[in-house]
Amino acid sequence: MNIRSQVSMVFHLDKCIGCHTCSVACKNIWTDRKGADYMWWNNVETKPGTGYPTQWEDQEQYHGGWEKKDDQPIHIKSTGKARVVPNIFHNPYMPSMDDYYEPWTYDYQNLFNAEEGPDQPIAKPISMVTGEDIKIEAGPNWDDDLGGSQIYAANDPNLAGLSDQQRLQLSSVERLVMFYLPRICNHCLNPCCVASCPSGALYKRGEDGIVLIDQKKCRAWRSCVAACPYKKTYFNWFTGKSEKCILCFPRLEAGEAPACFHSCVGRIRYLGVLLYDADRLEEVANLPDDQLVEGHRSLILNPHDPEIIRKAQSAGIPDGVIESAQQSPVYKFVMDWKIALPPHIEYRTLPMLFYVPPMSPVIANFEDGLASHAMKNLFHGIDESRIPMQYFANLFGGGHEGVVRYAMGKQLAVRWHRRAETVGDVDDSRQVFTRGGLFD
């Protein structure tokens, strides 16, 4: 057993209001520079939606992540060891700026300097790359709040496997539904970006697991950009170096939370230490698709187990870190409650950012044309959820519903329980949940 510690994250999507404060905090601190102007190390996407870069989840297009074929060991889907040399001059799966958006600003000076004339002067949009006039046709939140849109949301890759009826419901006006997906680098345990870097410029910090790019070693071979399935490494077109979320390590080292966590209005973000067994990474990354979520969990070690504590100490992990692991909210979400799930585990990078899947809106029942708040049906079951379970399974369960159903059911149970406690008009006995098939 090779015990390591990792600063891990949970984003509680049921609480995210999609305000983009996190994105702005990050942008102001880290990417407000020439060449990084189009980068959003933290971005918030509307789901169902196409995201940023457009349709990043479509790996038939982007070829990100690890690929497993039959019994073969996993390999990098874009350019692995054998293919990196012949493809070094032109990366066949490199996204271009068109896949993100061309950054722009406005010609504000024109408001002051324009010649006197019959019309009000305007601030024309100009490209931040060329300085030329630009017709804005894409942006980092281009499909923000456009759940249900036939142009955007309908192209969400997570809709795969949904019936036509389900798709229709997702876009019909009265049943329209959407939620927000804030994304930063997942600081994966099996990072594809690190594995793909020809220069060895990317690395994982041993002490806290933060994945970084050594700017002095990066030679702009661009493999990491193609390899990261979450498209969270970005190419700085001005410096010719790749950059990514650094989990605000200078803030972490000074005892402060990363800026996106710190600024989160809904307090949806949890940061905590997890202990894991690095010796089993390869084994878990090679598991069949339907065992990946459980396998990923099995890597995480119980920080309260005296045996684990002893081994962690002998592995050189400081007592303070072990103590943090014991108090880690992430451990509670992921291991105790099992309601936080990794995004797209089928990419096999073993992400260390977990999401609590969002509940669909609470709806009133209509009886005789009037909204009824009779409690017997107010909290609908998870299978009548407006967003089909298959959608969440594609996003958080590697295509498999079981783990997602459990996480959703548990949240629903908490809602019932709280209603029973605070209002007292519902029955929160265990039979209610077993009847719904939530728990055994």
Binding site: F89, H90, S96, T130, G206, R219, A220, W221, R222, G316
Partner: protein
């Protein structure tokens, strides 16, 4: 200036100045400005024509440069290979083909950088000077291959001894003095390119990622430990 002094300047003084600059500035830049060592790829800004310009150029110039280095290093073996006519023809035609491939790629690169406003923004004056030099060098090289056969043989008999005389610090100008002007131009441009090398994006040749093929899949750095476990 007499022909003698001109030859002395172009084929003795200039090569040493260029080589000295090359070694001094390359090492200096690597030590002092390692951040600036980058291939400065523009694929991100323009991805439609990138392949058709960059790939032919790189494969062309790699083979051509390797050919020059081989002829410099093992001239006798090369002459032995060329002693059979069909082998000479194969070598010459391949060399010309890769020369033309380089030229096509280079023209593609220049056209692409001129034509796309985004890529133009990341092209520096140094880049334009370099492209002009490489273009002149490639055109002169292709012309030499066309008009002065059989280059692979006379490179081995004349140019290789000259280059070795430079390396051995006892320059023998006589080997190049009798060469046609086009060949002289090619030699002078070659040394100028070497001297210009450390000031350009060409330094990315020196950081080709050879350890990648042998390193472990994942890279972990420990700050608190001297050696990774």
């Amino acid at each position: 200036m007499s022909q003698h002094f001109l030859d002395q300047f172009l084929f003795v003084a200039l090569p040493y100045v260029c080589l000295f600059t090359f070694f001094l500035m390359t090492i200096y830049r690597y030590r002092m400005q390692s951040f600036s060592y980058s291939s400065l790829s523009s694929q991100f800004l323009e991805n439609k024509h990138h392949f058709w310009a960059v790939v032919p150029f790189h494969y062309g110039i790699l083979v051509i440069t390797a050919g020059h280095l081989l002829a410099f290093a093992i001239p006798r073996s090369l002459l032995a290979w060329n002693s059979v006519p069909w082998r000479l023809y194969v070598l010459e035609i391949s060399a010309l083909a890769f020369g033309i491939l380089t030229l096509i790629g280079l023209v593609g690169i220049v056209v692409r950088r001129l034509g796309n406003s985004k890529v133009r923004m990341v092209t520096t004056p140094t880049d334009w000077i370099l492209f002009a030099m490489l273009l002149a060098q490639t055109v002169s090289g292709v012309c030499i291959a066309l008009f002065y056969p059989w280059g692979s043989s006379w490179f081995a008999t004349n140019m290789s001894p000259y280059l070795w005389s430079i390396v051995k610090l006892s320059p023998e100008v006589s080997f190049v003095a009798a060469m046609p002007h086009l060949v002289k131009l090619h030699v002078v441009l070659a040394f100028l390119t070497i001297g210009f090398f450390p000031f350009t994006r060409l330094v990315h040749i020196l950081v080709i990622p050879n350890p990648y093929l042998w390193r472990k899949t994942q890279v972990v750095r420990w700050y608190g430990r001297k050696h990774s476990p």
